[in-house]
Amino acid sequence: MSTVEVLQAPRADGALAAAPAAVLVRPTPAKTHRGIPIPRWARRLIAPLAVLGIWQLVCSQGVFTPIELASPVAVVNAGRELWAEGQFQSNLLISLERVAVGLAFGVTIGLVISVLSGLFHWGEDLIDPLVQAARSVPILGLLPLVIIWFGIGEAPKIFLIALGVTFAIYINTYSAIRGVDMKLIEAGRTFGLGRLGLIRRIILPGSLPGFLVGLRLALVHSWLIIVVAEQINAKSGIGYLINAAQTWGRTDIIMLGCTVYAVLGLIADFIVRRLEKSLLAWRRGFEGA
């Protein structure tokens, strides 16, 4: 290599010959790309597929009885059966609808109050103590109360989801607004941005990363809440299906319900990742190594 020759050159003229050779290392570890590179999405599938394989193996070896743990094949069959009856689709749709409506309310309310609280001192004084106190109440603990208030229709479920989502969005967006670099706000001000301009061009875009973290949490929370809410008090939805399956003694359907949640969680995560990728393109190194 040419670099090695250059490094040795001074020694040849004798001047540095006596000096012990320094140990040279490569500044970055050697690249270990051998064979065909596996695409990212495929790498991400490896672990879930392995779990699936072990699960199937354990079941077909008879470690558990089918009642204790249904095998993946049994779960797929249960899915087919429910699909044929139309139960799968209708219950999934209803759960999705509840989550979507709850999210819509929660995100909107969470955003509005976090902006009010993040931007205005009176807003902070009015809103922040209330939200901070309220969010330490376990949301699902409110369920009995919420049933008394709203009855057993859609309202209590949507209310609980909206509440959980509001908190997740508020906490993260509020602290992100407060964390926006003062130096940028100052710069914006010297370049003639008014209050509205500062909010639109500096503060809101600057708090977007925090908002997206909140959104990710909100999605997780809303699924948690809907499962429990539907199990206790519902005539439809995936949670209801799981609960009913318990009385029918159908572990395969219970596992099916759990799998559906897992897949929905994955999809939600994927959507937020996509959002982050396009909205936060300005952050270098965001994609990771």
Binding site: K183, L184, E186, T190, F191, G192
Partner: protein, 248 residues
Amino acid sequence: MALTLDRNEAGAPGGVSVDARDIRRAFDGRVVLDQLSLTIGEGEFVALLGRSGSGKSTLLRILGGLDDGYQGDVLVPKQRAVVFQEARLVPWLRVLPNVTLGLSGGSRGALKGRGLAALDEVGLTKQASAWPVTLSGGEAQRVALARALVREPQLVLLDEPFGALDALTRIRMHALLQDLCARHRPAVLLVTHDVDEAVLLADRTLVLVDGRITLDLPIPLEHPRRRGDPGFDELRSRLLAELGVEEH
């Protein structure tokens, strides 16, 4: 008040761009600027020298309207632009919208045209749609300069804008700044650590020591100036001596 007879908010008399009297600024009881007075004429290029921590940025922030915790009376033009010690580009805006940030008056297209013209002046037209994080330090500083000058300010405040640049880029930036100043004729206050830079560029150089301006030295050399010109070294030595640096 007697003071207001010959002063007003729109512009002080005799083509004065900055008229600051008896500025005092203390942080937690520690006095940083002490009864400091300063005037800068229209189109005048003033350099401000001082050791690290002597209060240069503090003074600049006061003149830029970024600090209202001072005592004293300060008059500055309405159209001001600041180039900060760091470029302070807005990371989520591409280069061009960073340059035109906060500009008003004119259609979108017209503003875009002005922004592009300013970028052209600093030689960065190609980077117009790049994200700030992808710029080198010198490029970011040039964008900051374009952002300041696109506003055609009456007063430009520069806080060690070339401190982080290599010698070559710095020379190019000096030429650029002089060129832009010759064309737009703003009043300039350039904060710097670099005595040579002050002597090369300024019409007048101030030295800030212990919260006061202890030396106000006109630099009567012809442009273009070069290190080693007659008079250059003498001015340089005086400034260094004022800063407490012994020359060998």
